[in-house]
Symmetry: none
Subunit: 189 residues, 4 copies
């Protein structure tokens, strides 16, 4: 039973994320989401009290997942260069793998989350960003970086997020290739 409940919530959030990504949050209707999971519009409100709650849940879930994945990935690294590669690589995987929709939503639908909820997410986001800043700081200390860490992270957020708009994981360039290219822009070669 608990399993079923979890499944349904997960399916619902996955469909919602997909729609939010495709059409944007404001253009996605509660009816769209409901019918994507085989419900009537009214029934959705037994699972989430408001549309805003759905957006929040999508973001909250994905940030937890990527933070965990990132910790796992970093745990297997040793050198600063390996760490930065893992940071880039793991974020790319999140953006082009299973959590693609939710990751995209996290970045590009941010403004549509209510301010109160933004604050909550920011706490989690800061934890995640701390992993990045730590990794980049180590690379900086090792004299590897090309730009000051804080600025570098901002530039990387932009270039990595934007790949969702052009990079095709099934195309000629592999995700590893892409990670390597981005690494080249971030660190001295």
């Amino acid at each position: 039973m608990t399993q079923h409940v979890k499944d349904r919530r997960a399916v619902l959030l996955a469909e919602a994320a997909s729609l939010f990504r495709k059409k944007g949050f404001p253009r996605t209707t509660v009816r769209d989401i409901a019918s994507a999971v085989g419900l009537q519009s009214g029934s959705l409100f037994h699972h989430f009290a408001t549309k805003d709650d759905i957006l929040f849940a999508v973001m909250e879930d994905v940030i937890a997942v990527i933070t965990e994945n990132m910790l796992d990935a970093l745990a297997e690294t040793e050198t600063p260069r390996q760490k930065v590669r893992a940071l880039i690589r793991t974020e790319l995987e999140a953006i082009h793998g299973a959590s693609r929709d939710a990751m995209t939503v996290l970045v590009f639908e941010w403004r549509h989350l209510s301010p109160a909820r933004q604050k909550e997410i920011l706490v989690l986001r800061d934890q995640y960003e701390a992993l990045w800043l730590t990794g980049l700081a180590q690379a900086a200390q090792a004299g590897l970086t090309v730009v000051e860490s804080f600025t570098l992270r901002r530039l990387l957020v932009g270039s990595i997020s934007w790949t969702v708009n052009w990079f095709d994981p099934d195309g000629p360039m592999s995700l590893d290739d892409l990670a390597e290219q981005i690494l080249n822009t971030a660190l001295k070669t």
Copy 2:
């Protein structure tokens, strides 16, 4: 008289761009725009037939402006490095200067433009992007780039556009500094 008409159109588009940027296109109402320029909502349709037309005009205008600015800037350069610096610098100026709102809208509200209108803008956008690709190709031939030109441009679109979300031109880092940092990620030092 002609001046007045031009002014009014320009003011209207500027206010619309500002609102689209702040709230997003779907969340910006026609009333918002009208009242921002001191009109009743119905009067707006004397100037633009649909809300979509306004978005289109914002984008069309700004792409014309940035293309012209870019041509001017490139005309004053000689070496490949100078050219890439000009590309970055001019795009940053557009994003943080007078056309900030419209530039941001061009990038981040793209999806909300009707497909028919997207096609029209894409023609103009391709002309603009050709300037970039030419410049980067020259740098590549000179052995300066860190990444293949096409990929590099995509990464730069992301990092440069994203600066709108964090860079403050009145802060400690100047726009020239920022341009130089981005140049460092793009070219060998």
Copy 3:
């Protein structure tokens, strides 16, 4: 339950037909219709997607009813004169009886139905008109008619429809009387 749904739809269409007849389709607002059945304007769209759909439903329903009634009436006739009398009489009953509003709308609001929907109704209308043409052709073969069948039907459409604007079924002239008078204009006495 199904009964309720049917009732509600029927009531809604009846009220809509009444309003369309009284004020014409363009002058009838969706709010008029909604409040006539005790709904808010937005709730109407739970039942019909567009105002045009309502007009269509009114017409589709009434043409089905009159076709059925006509078949019943014709089934009880034998001679050509009886058939023509039944055609006139039944159409008059539709125009002045329970389906008065819808019949009038079918004739006089025709132009306001969307072209696509007009095509759909025309299929049904042709089936109905075939009953008339068959009946009149038989009368013609019996040497009873005063005018060629096709023309005669056109003239009768006009005179019969127009009765809605002047004939009062509760007045001194009965509907049977009226039918007889029209019969006199159509056939040799």
Copy 4:
């Protein structure tokens, strides 16, 4: 000058009538009319104070014309049969000739004229209808009619008006033929 003024008014009313007939009064916008005569929407109000005034003028003019034409036509008749033929023939000419649009508007847009204006037109209409009733009464006295005069006129209004929806003056049936057919329905043969 006076000529010009008259011309402009006449052209304007002709275009308005054409539009009212084609699209119906409510669906015809003041802009439609203005642009049909090469004016801007605001300029129309130098000629007519309201849209209702235009409809009124169309109707008033055409009823004056047809009354005059009818008087002329009747003046040339002698026998009752000739008179009824002239009544039918002249009304058909009005409906399919130069004043077709205005005549159609008079009949089918009647409901959209403001009640106050309807009263004014009714006075003129009664004068016109008196010609019909007189003519039919004479035919009745001569034992020619098939139906009581008042009823007969009503039936004829319907069938004659309706010809606008199906009769093509350039088709195989001439207007004289049509008039003769209608005469056959109205009088004993």
